[in-house]
Symmetry: D5
Subunit: 94 residues, 10 copies
């Protein structure tokens, strides 16, 4: 089941750069592991923003919430989640 | 170059159903041809909306505008275009 | 899987009252059948609005979109869909 | 009398984790006691948000305000309250 | 129980003036009868708008929805409903 | 002359509780004195918000601004002011 | 007493040009008479909009509402009204 | 050339009252000098807000930006600028 | 003096295609003449919108309003005007 | 390929003036170098705002994101990016 997720990161300006770099490194490793197992299907940077649009492919709402909540950047981010359905013009379903 | 495009269709309530069905058939054929040549990379229905989120993979802004403007549903739709860049955590660039 | 759906009906002022009453009767029968089989779990009127908040319990995004799109009032309505997850304070999961 | 309440928690980033955990534990106990006596009829997590949608079943506006104001997380939260009425298509009133 | 209701009237420009005048006369009579029995406690014109702010004093959400829905201007109006509670600084509760 | 005023209080989380309690006590005394002399005609709590809707009955814009600016909570609040006129359906003017 | 009023005109595209020109002529005569007696203190065109910002100098809310409601363009316009008070830095009050 | 400027002041709650009073005194002197030379044509307080609406009469965009940027309260304020043109109903141009 | 203007065209769906094509041809001729004399300094299409961002270089607010109001598409368009000033980092002013 | 970029700077009020001046000097040097090589085609101050509208001429989305992210003021700014296409009325394409 697919979801479009917009994630906006709000880095706390007063956090030591080193600590924030560490959080970002953990975030990246976590993201890569989810990309490898297929649940984080796509990730794109939004030009000019500390934000990404991503496609998640999960078993349902509960799994998606858990994945997002476990993001190391979760406390410094906001999320917009849009449930996606198969489009009748999608070439995959012709 | 990738763009996220949100397309909201506003079907005119007073158009004869037959005529609108014809426009939608042309739209679908056009969409499928663009999916086949790779420029319309993804298309997803937004749940509960006469809308889709799509990923376009084009040579640039001019080509994208031409593709959208040539959509048979263009006069009955509104579009939001978000330019996308490669994300440093994308597994494809590790 | 649960979703909160807000449905706002925009009755076309120029449709004959009889025809709209007929559409509403079909809508009600359809809603009742979905309530009976458990997929339309709750429906509440929003005070002062031709709108409802509803809880749907479905297998996923595709099923939800189909249910909404099949509503007789779909062409005269707009929808906002919010995916819901289990809350850790929900008494049912203690 | 039913109300839909959206509650968005804004955890203060500079509060010691321990103190916030304590507030959350009190909040959960308070929520469970209200669920047990039937006044907090439903609680759902909004996917990707530190937020919930809840249904309250109370005697009226004054009781609802008191319940919300007494939430341990009240000073760190914002609320949107929507009064709900019986829907004529609700299967319970046929 | 008190509610603040904002009512915005959108008079249909193509309705014959006579017919709209008739609807407004019925509306006024209905409003006066509710003012007389105390349920429509206050009504004020918003300066520069075809709108009013009103205070309703009703037994609950269901009664309020019924009152609003029965307004002759209901099909040509939109409503915002805010539930009100007793304020601790209200002189009436000292 | 009547005005509807919405007042949203934003209590500073880092102010000592004692000091804020003191400000609120002064605010309440000030509000009561204005209610007694008839200029603060009504005050209602908005359910679920640290906010009130109030009706002020003053000689004009200058007096209203002075009253609001003198509120002890003024530096921690925001205000929306709506000028009200007599409504032709008000029972008092029949 | 001063008010800033923003007036946005929405000319109905399907009204015969002649009839609209007539309404505008009556509007202009009405505006000039109010400018002459000092109640319509200023009127400015907003660049690129069929809109004006105006200053009205009236005895109070009721008079302002009557003036606006009597505008020949009132049924084709929307209004935003902001009550103004004397500013302590105004050179006139030093 | 005229411009409507809305200025919203956001006084920093943690600045010593004395220092802020000093900034405001300089602001007032600066405003008065611009009012004397005719470039700050009008200034009005918005009721219930730490804000003003002002009319500036300047030679063009560059001069207006310089005047605003030199305000002592500039770092603690936000501005909305609306360019104004002569209105054809203005009595001054008949 | 420079202004950024965003122009959104709302083509009336019920106008005969021929008549609209004629209006657009006049619009284009008018735009080209203003580009030739330097007052319409730049014009760009917004991707996916029947809209443009343009830079106008005019003597002031009155001239800009006249230019926009004379556009053949003016009755079918909306405009947002932003006054621009010289930027201190502009290479032209070093 | 052209993009319109709106950049809003939010200078941190608690940063020492000297340090911020240093960042701004680096920003200016960086901007000038991009103006010299043609990629930062235009920069204009928005009147009354610590903001600019700029035109960038780059090879695509990835290059634009890199340019913006490398701005010394990037951590203290927000950006809105609008992709631009050639306009059919542009005199350059006749």
């Amino acid at each position: 089941m697919l979801f479009l997720v917009r994630m906006d990161v709000h880095p706390p300006l007063d956090m030591p750069a080193e600590k924030f770099a560490e959080i970002k490194a953990t975030e990246k490793a976590y993201s890569l592991s989810l990309q490898r197992d297929g649940r984080w299907a796509h990730i794109w940077r939004i030009v000019g923003q500390y934000s990404n649009y991503s496609i998640f492919d999960v078993s349902g709402n509960d799994e998606l919430h858990k994945l997002l909540q476990d993001l190391p950047l979760y406390p410094y981010s906001s999320f917009q989640v849009t449930p996606l359905a198969t489009h009748p013009s999608d070439i995959a379903v012709q």
